[in-house]
Amino acid sequence: MRIAVVDYGMGNLRSVARALNRVAPEAEVEVTDCPERLRAAHRIVFPGQGALPDCMRRLHERHLLEVVQELMRTRPFLGICLGLQVLFDRSEEGDVAGLGLLAGKVCRFPEDRFGPRGERLKVPHMGWNEVHATREHSLWRGLAPDSRFYFVHSYYVQELNEAECAATTTYGFPFTSAVIRDNLCAVQFHPEKSAAAGLTLLSNFVHWTP
């Protein structure tokens, strides 16, 4: 099996590749921005950190928009962090359009919010939070309910189709922390940095038959 990690110059791509190597030692994991190599892969992982406007610009500059959109429809596809946010119509961040594969908009966490214990809710939302699966899916296999994963982000998705939400996480209010539609799944947290729970999720993705 060949797994391609989309390289568009953003984020800790090698960490993702190393974690995939760990859960799928038999697979060939390649970090690449070459459309032919991406099309030759059986599974696609689309990681990302940073700002959405930069992400869209770099996809454009590297001529990856077309191939990524094609693979999102045709391969088991996992988006991570920015790789989730980019799927939606629009983002407040720089007021840019995303890929528009899913309905919804990406908004910034408001500042100066306080949690149930009076604690200030900092932005970025950084650290280990609970992921509450809202539907059954093989991606969650072997994970305890409400397992903790590592998050680091300042933006979240709202106004999406409820049917596409696969998990929620609470940070002052509940937000969507995973989406699944057909062959496409995406998570707001970083499975590659989420210790055993993260590796379980990546292994589930590698063995997933949509």
């Binding site: 950190q49 200030r120 950084m126 939070n129 609970e130 903790r148 989420s194």
Partner: protein, 254 residues
């Protein structure tokens, strides 16, 4: 339930080796950063921080293969600090596998470094480390360099606000009055800075027992607590620290 408070063990590294010997049971090599990071991961550490205390640039490059190796084996966030002077230093550490890079005195010399690094790589991977101690400044704490010996013109709270504005995603706040004393965090300092900025604060300096960690969160309002010696010498495990915090109603990842 929501976001957990983090516990972060900090390892001092020099010439590719962990210094201030770590004393775990049955550790084959007490100076091997990879093995030590793996132990902390197994104990449930939420992140690991490496502080490079190398004296020269050549010596400092020795940390890169270590970061590569740790990040191939330990799947939790890794922060690396020490000697970060330019954007290219940040890039080199991130490329090796660091998730966050901590900047200290270079930010004071040239605050634009924080803005530039955050602009290039995103706020999520830029930590600014602030060494503070009590001084006659506006808030009562000043920013110091050279291990707390040399004062700067900055007030600690104003500097924290300045770096947050410039795009630091997190602040590592060390009390140089408490560092090495084992008397606990400077809770007033921690709380003052935690309330003054919107980004997460890691409390550091002075931890001598598990209650100090709990106080850092409950009283100091820290988002994360960092400690070195209480974990290194096998006095307490990360797991014990988390159980102590949990028993006091602090949300942790168990």
């Amino acid at each position: 339930m929501g976001l957990a408070r983090r516990i972060i063990p900090c390892l001092d590294v020099k010439g590719g080796r962990v210094v201030k010997g770590v004393n775990f049971v049955a550790l084959r090599d007490a100076g091997d950063p990879v093995e030590i990071a793996r132990r902390y991961d197994e104990q449930g550490a939420d992140e690991v921080t490496f502080l490079d205390i190398a004296a020269s640039a050549e010596e400092r490059d020795l940390i890169l293969p270590i970061i590569e190796e740790v990040s191939a084996q330990v799947f939790i966030p890794l922060t690396v600090g020490g000697g970060v002077r330019e954007v290219k230093d940040v890039r080199r550490l991130l490329n090796a596998g660091a998730d966050k890079v901590s900047i200290n005195s270079a930010a004071l010399q040239r605050p634009d470094l924080v803005s530039e690094a955050s602009g290039f790589f995103g706020a999520q991977c830029i930590v600014v480390a602030i060494d503070a101690r009590r001084a006659a400044t506006a808030s009562g704490w000043g920013v110091f360099t050279h291990g707390g010996r040399r004062p700067t013109a900055w007030d600690a709270v104003l500097w924290a606000q300045e770096v947050a504005r410039r795009g630091a995603g997190e602040i590592l706040l060390t009390s140089m009055d408490r560092d090495g004393t084992r008397e606990g965090f400077d809770l007033e300092l921690t709380r003052t800075v935690a309330e003054a900025v919107g980004v997460p604060i890691i409390a550091s300096g002075g931890v001598g027992n598990l209650q100090h960690l709990c106080d850092g969160v409950r009283v100091g309002q820290a988002d994360a607590v960092l400690a070195a010696s209480i974990f290194h010498y096998g006095e307490f495990t990360i797991r014990q620290a988390k159980e102590a915090m949990d028993a006091q109603g602090i949300e942790v990842r168990l």
